[in-house]
């Protein structure tokens, strides 16, 4: 038996919002691959749960009229990887979440749960950050639209206010169009492992494919929360596709990260990974965009 006190099963989004309002202390249970596991220990025993897992209205991916890609939060990792619109607009997101856990975890784990947990190692987080995802947070007060960039407040802490529920994750058209990305997860094992470091890069090249029009880069486990490498991004704009670009991205990335030493890896090794993964992911993203790096 899981050691929780009460289970409230939401029957609709509206019902879930009412439950959120009436039971402010209750935890929101999506796929449960974090909460149900924690309930096998003592950390959160005796808690109240609001299960939203049965709400199919919160599943799926679609393109909106303005070209925004809308991902509903309960979409499982495997559904994201297999979805034709993800393959078409942000294949790198499907590739990133395909590296989480194993098949069983990818069938139960949800993208909304992954980002609402607020952990820095979430494999979907760096790619969503690097694509300037925008969150839709619903409550009885109305809908709050928040850039995902502002969502993480600290380790395991996110800007989800009392009564609110994440109901959508959007990637605007301008953000995915003509844009190609690569995610590299560095972990000790090829499955069932948490990233030692994760790096997601995407590029949009100029029409002649000779220069960077836009480069965005984000890291997981390089700071208390997933972070963007704004310094590297600014330096890369308009840069030619050459070895100097890779140095700029690699070294520039160091300016925005502050990894720590944990039992998985030392701070020094993580700093090395930041530079190296930034370079490698940039090379791969440029390749996908049809560019070549001249030395």
């Amino acid at each position: 038996m899981y050691d929780f006190k009460t289970l409230y099963e939401a029957s609709s989004v509206e019902d879930a919002l009412r439950l959120r309002k009436d039971h402010p202390k209750a935890l929101v249970l999506a796929g449960g691959s974090d909460i149900l596991i924690k309930l096998r220990g003592e950390e959160i025993s005796g808690c109240e749960l609001i299960s939203i897992y049965a709400l199919d209205e919160l599943r799926g991916v679609c393109l909106e009229e303005d070209g925004s890609l809308l991902i509903r939060p309960l979409t499982s990792f495997s559904d994201i990887t297999m979805h034709p619109l993800i393959k078409q607009c942000v294949p790198v997101l499907g590739e990133a979440v395909d590296q989480i856990g194993g098949p069983q975890i990818r069938n139960i784990g949800t993208i909304g749960g992954n980002i609402c947990n607020g952990v820095t190692s979430a494999d979907s987080a760096s790619t969503l950050k690097a694509y300037d995802a925008v969150l839709e947070l619903a409550s009885f007060e109305g809908i709050r639209i928040l850039p995902y960039a502002e969502f993480n407040l600290g380790p395991g802490k996110v800007d989800l206010r009392p009564g609110e529920l994440l109901t959508g994750i959007r990637i605007p058209r301008e953000s995915w169009e003509h844009t190609y990305g690569e995610y590299i997860k560095y972990a000790m094992r090829r499955a069932m492992d948490i990233a030692t470091l994760g790096c997601s890069v995407n590029v949009r090249l100029t029409a002649d494919k000779q220069r960077i029009d836009r480069l965005r880069i984000a890291f997981g486990v390089a700071a208390p929360t997933p972070v963007r490498g704004r310094t590297a991004e600014a330096a890369a704009i308009g840069h030619a596709l050459d070895a100097a670009l890779l140095d700029i991205v690699g070294e520039g990335s160091l300016a925005d990260v502050m990894p720590r030493t944990s039992w998985r890896a030392s701070k020094e090794f993580r700093l090395h990974l930041v530079q190296e993964l930034a370079r490698r992911a940039t090379i791969a993203a440029i390749g996908k965009a049809g560019g070549t790096i001249n030395d």
């Binding site: 691959s33 299960s51 194993g102 139960i108 499955a191």
Partner: protein
């Protein structure tokens, strides 16, 4: 303690259980339905010994609320044998290939292999390994498990081709 009635289909039969809402699906399947192929290995989603198919896809039943099974179609290892109790080709292949030693992990591995052996697209050994990467085995060293799955997948694809031609 709150109880709830859960109705679902298990191995093709409609079943109804009155359960404590705090139960996991593994507890319902092993405890209430007496399906002993479900193992309580780690109980935290690490080892895959509790793997069942829910609507055709593998899930760890130890980290799945029993109440979520409402209306779902569940397949366990017991559902692979025919009405006379004859085991299926994949089970036989595990025996023939020496893919079973203590046997604790076997039901989970076999359930994880179902999407591969029922697919028309042949999976490489690498893809088979990825598909069973959520299952741990302390005994066999995995090689024979991959052999058994690969062999059954090939055999089934051949069979389907054969029956398609007729």
């Amino acid at each position: 303690m709150t109880r709830k009635t859960v109705t679902c289909t298990i191995n093709g039969k409609r079943r109804e259980f009155s359960i404590d809402v705090r139960s996991s699906l593994s507890e319902m399947l092993r405890g209430e339905a007496s399906l002993d192929s479900i193992k309580h290995g780690c109980d935290v989603g690490e080892c895959g010994a509790c793997t069942v198919l829910i609507d055709g896809r593998p899930f760890n039943s130890c980290i799945y609320l029993a109440v979520w099974a409402e209306g779902k179609e569940i397949l366990t290892l017991e559902g692979l044998t025919d009405t006379k109790g004859t085991i299926s080709d994949i089970q036989q292949a595990f025996m023939d290939e020496g893919a079973v030693q203590c046997g604790f992990c076997t039901p989970g591995f076999i359930m994880s292999s179902i999407p591969i052996i029922t697919s028309d697209t042949p999976a490489s050994r690498e893809e088979i390994r990825k598909q069973v990467s959520g299952n741990l085995c302390r005994c066999t060293g995995y090689e024979n498990i991959v052999n058994a799955i690969e062999k059954t997948q090939k055999k089934r694809i051949e069979e389907r081709k054969g029956s398609g031609k007729k």
